[in-house]
Amino acid sequence: MIQLRHIERVFMVGEEEVHALRDVSITAEAGEYIAIMGPSGSGKSSLLNILGLLDRPDSGAYELDGTLVSNLDEKQQAAIRMHKIGFVFQFFHLVPRLSAFDNVALPLVLSGVKPDERQTRVSTALAAFGLGNRARHRPDQLSGGQRQRVAIARATIMQPSVILADEPTGNLDRSSGIEVAEILEELNHQGMTLIMVTHDPDMGKRSRRQILMVDGRVEGGKGEDRSP
């Protein structure tokens, strides 16, 4: 379960203060499927960065699965990112010199999992995402949809409880976009909380709940909104 309470985030752009997030409070139950929508510059990505512990709020509290993670130190937050959160990006962010296999294995390598265990887990994951015959290919030898599937395999290899996706279909053609969305939804069905930033209304409509951001505030939403 995710609970954000009165999150504020202010950036200094030159001399000017920019309020990226103003008093944002959101609650998401485990297993929810949420689309965060809104115009560019509305604070969608800032919110996702806070949720993914890639950025710290200036004030407010963030509770993840009962832990107050906004107060943890850098190392503990890294551990949370490793075990509880999976990221999917618009530009995939695969390491270009590594094969699909090695890209997926990266979180396991970082956490010190033994090579033979890595071998089985990564092979299983690649097969599950239809990439069994692409293991030795480098990212530049893969299509956009395949790259995003590799990225999703990497995001889920540690069995996180939350998947954060930042415009996951923004850089894909329509059919691979839908394919990727279906994979993410399938993971959601298996119980992972899925939070997706998008400004594509069609993608937004697929979710069970939408949060609309305008100018750093949560302006409203549709669906099963149980936030206070």
Binding site: L54, A78, F91, H93, R97, V109, G112
Partner: protein, 401 residues
């Protein structure tokens, strides 16, 4: 993260950018190579000189007239010159218990002629013992005969080169030559044509010390060479020499005794200083290589911002990123150092082939020093880029493609 994984990650990251990495490896190799070569050069020169000295025999003491050091006190009112060393002094020394051999030496230059051919050569007045003390060798004939030092026998031993110049390729033994206004019969020819302690043994004429005294019309000796019974009694021998001369010179310490040991120590110190300074110069190139590592790593950090952001997003801590980038720079400097070491070894081998007379050898501790310095510079110059990588804000690093 496992060590093997860290290494393989670093190797792949480093080899992804070939051109710049090769340049950096070259710089590190040159740095390490030159340090190893310079240390070896200095060390070999030192060994060479020490070898040369040792070939004279380490049990050697050289007695010179006059004191080389001041003892303080007011200067004498009347001008006082040091007493000469005489032949009697020399003979007194050979009576000391720990002295094995003794050779007085008078040296001077004189014109030497054979039937109208005339050459200026070094004339050495000495005794039969000189042969053993200086490790001389004969190609023909015999050395000065042993016996009473005060007998001025008219015989001489001549260097190989001098013999060729005066007698050509014909026989010389038994023939006569003229030194100054006296005639000497050639009884032996030295074989070693080399240079020993700055004296060209090829162009030398050795005559009995008494003959040299009358030839140069001087009773004072140039120096006395003393060989101790073994190297353990050098210091007692020195004390004995000083004591004997003091008694003979009315209580005056007016000689200097140089031991081989003291000379060796001095040379050792000179060559160590020399080695250190050339090594210092070579080490500058290591610093340059270190700065190149830093440059390569800084560029790598800015090129791989997205990758660093991603690593953080999937759970790498600051410490892990720091470790990964430090491992990369250490790896690069180690490989560079290894290449440099190989180049240095090949260079030393090549120098050995090109200049066989100078025995250039790898100084045994130089590889260890070079590798240590390379590792230290790799880590030291890798710290700043690694810190920059570790401190990248993941959200910012991922924001741009």
């Amino acid at each position: 993260m496992r060590l093997r994984d860290i290494l393989s990650f670093s190797i792949r990251a480093a080899t992804a950018n070939r051109g710049r990495v090769l340049l950096m490896l070259l710089a590190m190799a040159i740095g390490v190579g030159s340090v190893v070569v310079f240390i070896s050069l200095g060390d070999s020169a030192r060994n060479y000189v020490i070898d040369q000295f040792s070939s004279l025999g380490t049990d050697l003491l050289i007695v010179l007239p006059g004191r080389s050091e001041t003892t303080g006190g007011p200067p004498p009112l009347l001008g006082e010159t040091p007493r000469d060393l005489t032949l009697d002094d020399a003979m007194a020394l050979s009576r000391a218990r720990t002295v094995r051999r003794m050779a007085p030496i008078i040296a001077g230059s004189a014109p030497i002629s054979v039937q109208g051919l005339e050459r200026e050569m070094l004339v050495l007045g000495s005794s039969s013992e000189l042969f053993a003390i200086r490790h001389l060798a004969l190609s023909q004939g015999s050395f000065l005969p042993p016996g009473d030092l005060s007998r001025a026998e008219s015989v001489c031993v001549i260097g190989l080169k001098g013999k060729k110049e005066l007698f050509g390729s014909g026989p010389a033994i038994g023939r006569w030559l003229r030194i100054g206004d006296r005639r000497f019969r050639v009884i032996g020819i030295l074989s070693s044509p080399g240079v020993s302690l700055g004296e060209d043994l090829g162009e030398i004429v050795i005559i009995p010390v008494a003959a040299a005294q009358s030839l140069f019309n001087a009773s004072s000796l140039f120096r006395i060479l003393v060989e101790a019974k073994n190297s353990a009694v050098i210091e007692p021998t020195r004390q004995a020499i000083l004591e004997i001369i003091r008694q003979r010179h009315e209580g005056e310490d007016d000689i200097t005794v140089i031991t081989q040991d003291a000379v060796l120590t001095t040379f050792n110190r000179i060559f160590q200083a020399l080695t250190l300074s050339v090594t210092g110069i070579a080490a500058i190139s290591l610093v340059v290589a270190g700065i190149m590592i830093m440059n390569v790593m800084l560029v790598a950090v800015s090129n791989r911002r997205a990758e660093i952001g991603l690593l953080k997003a999937i759970g790498a801590s600051r410490g892990q990123i720091l470790g990964l980038f430090l491992a990369e720079s250490t790896l690069l400097s180690t490989v560079g150092a290894a290449i440099g070491l190989v180049v240095a070894l090949l260079g030393i081998r090549l120098a050995g082939i090109l200049f066989p007379q100078f025995p250039l050898q790898l100084a045994p501790w130089s590889p260890a020093i070079a590798i240590a310095v390379a590792l230290i510079s790799g880590i030291a110059f890798g710290v700043l880029p690694a810190h920059r990588a570790a401190n990248l804000e993941p959200a910012l690093a991922l924001a741009r493609r």
